[in-house]
């Protein structure tokens, strides 16, 4: 099954529900090594995406790229903090990559994921091992690239599985970007909230694609 504007919108709504359900968990993760707002920020942003989609309903933006762009600009203008510009850039770069395709197939999806990762890294300057969302995204994109021949659901499932593992890996890292970096060694033993939310969003997309 390929991904249309409608299915992408549905996936975003699904992601919003998942983020809302994990709002408290993400706040707690951020409370331990940051400033206790990541769950609130993400929830505010994704709820705003749902509102933006609702405002257009019963219409949906015409292309998957237009849906992604709507999500990106909503995140940029509603989330704030570090997560807002980083997620916003990821979504924006993905949307650019999607071009005017009416449907997203496996290879295009993989390209969009790669673009998202590059966007986050261009903006935030984090590399793998810095204990950020990048540690969820890098393995996710690699896994997606390996699964590029499969269908969208399989690609996203592979990405989500890898993102989960990547997020887990941040527990043992000393953060070098973002707020957690101020804690140095003291941040060890904690899951990075942005890596966790990245894994959650990818999982929600994968589930929605089934």
């Amino acid at each position: 099954m390929a991904c249309t504007a409608e299915t992408l919108a549905a996936a975003l709504r699904a992601a919003a529900a998942v983020i809302a359900g994990h709002r408290g968990e993400l706040i707690d993760l951020d409370r331990a090594i940051g400033d206790a707002d990541h769950g609130e920020n993400m929830d505010r942003g994704f709820a705003a995406i749902v509102s933006a989609l609702d405002a257009l309903a019963p219409k949906t933006p015409e292309t998957p790229a237009a849906v992604m762009k709507l999500a990106a600009t909503t995140l940029i203008s509603k989330v704030g903090g570090a997560a807002g510009p980083l997620y916003g850039t990821a979504f924006l770069r993905a949307s650019v990559k999607l071009g005017d395709a009416a449907e997203v197939d496996g290879p295009l999806l993989v390209e969009a994921l790669r673009a998202a990762l590059e966007g986050v890294q261009a903006r935030g300057k984090a590399v793998g091992g810095d204990a950020t969302m990048v540690d969820a995204l890098i393995p996710a994109v690699s896994a997606a690239e390996e699964a590029a021949g499969s269908d969208i659901a399989a690609i996203l499932t592979a990405a989500a599985d890898a993102a989960d593992k990547g997020a887990e890996s941040t527990v043992d890292l000393v953060p070098r970007k973002g707020r957690a970096s101020y804690l140095g060694e003291r941040a060890k033993g904690h899951l990075d909230p942005g890596a966790r939310s990245t894994a959650l969003v990818l999982r929600a997309f994968a589930e929605a694609a089934r």
Binding site: R31, E40, G80, G84, G124, R179, S181, G184
Partner: protein, 333 residues
Amino acid sequence: MKKIINDPKTVVAESLRGLAVAHADVLRVEDDPAIVVRVDAPVAGKVAVISGGGSGHEPLHGGFVGQGMLAAAVPGAVFTSPTPDAVEAAVKATTGDAGALLIVKNYTGDVLNFETAAELAAAEGLDVRSVVIDDDVAVKDSTYTAGRRGVGGTVLLEKITGAAADRGDPLDAVEALARKVIGQVRSIGVALTAPTVPHAGEPSFDLADDEIEFGIGIHGEPGIARTPALSADELVARMVEALVTDLPFGEGDKVLLFTNSMGGTPLVELYLAHGIAERLLAERGIVVERRLVGPYITSLEMQGMSLTLLKLDDELTELWDAPVNTPALRWGV
């Protein structure tokens, strides 16, 4: 969690309503996106100094809007940097031909959101510069971290650049002045208790009754070290040591000493600590020429304090002394 609020989601908006009505002679508040603007903005021919960041640090930044200080403040959600469109709105509401200086505290979120806003404003033909303040000596250098945080020095930077703008300095000069201030201001903070972010509902960290956090920021993140509670003499000595060895500040240097409450520390303790800091600086031959004591950059109800030292020269002293008329700082008017 006990707070005087209705709903965590509306805290900032409702608080801004109170700020607006309490200080209608000095500022106004615009909604959606929320910004705090000088009542007489834009002021023709003068640089607009603009700052912002997460809420929860009051009076920073909204309490510093007014003549001789900020043209606008951009309040984000509690502890969350504001979004680019809010910053852009503040720029548009206050910036004329003289341009604007954005004062950005060095946090990933602030830097990224203000960067985007500056690009948006530049695209509209406005002359907007940004400076990033990073005065917190508790944080290691940026190979290992997001870089030093912007903390207490921000208040002094906003006052001094605001005064320069007020006397009509051009943007180049205000920007250069800002970089100079950033180059010679240093801060260090400690926490005795944790703040409780309204939407989180629980204290940001747990401290035993005999522990403190040394080298804390203003967002409830733990500090660089948890240590047993110290006497005021020992605590302030450690803080002063951390400050003066960093820049360094030395014998004969003239300084502004800013003793700041993190919110929950009462003035009786703050003045006590200030007295100790003055004594320790005097012992080192460092000359305190100006001082600011009070809760000016806070972390909600967190108990704790920070010390900020700014090396002064005649120009900075004059700009510090210049008239200011804001909710939180007011003199000469």
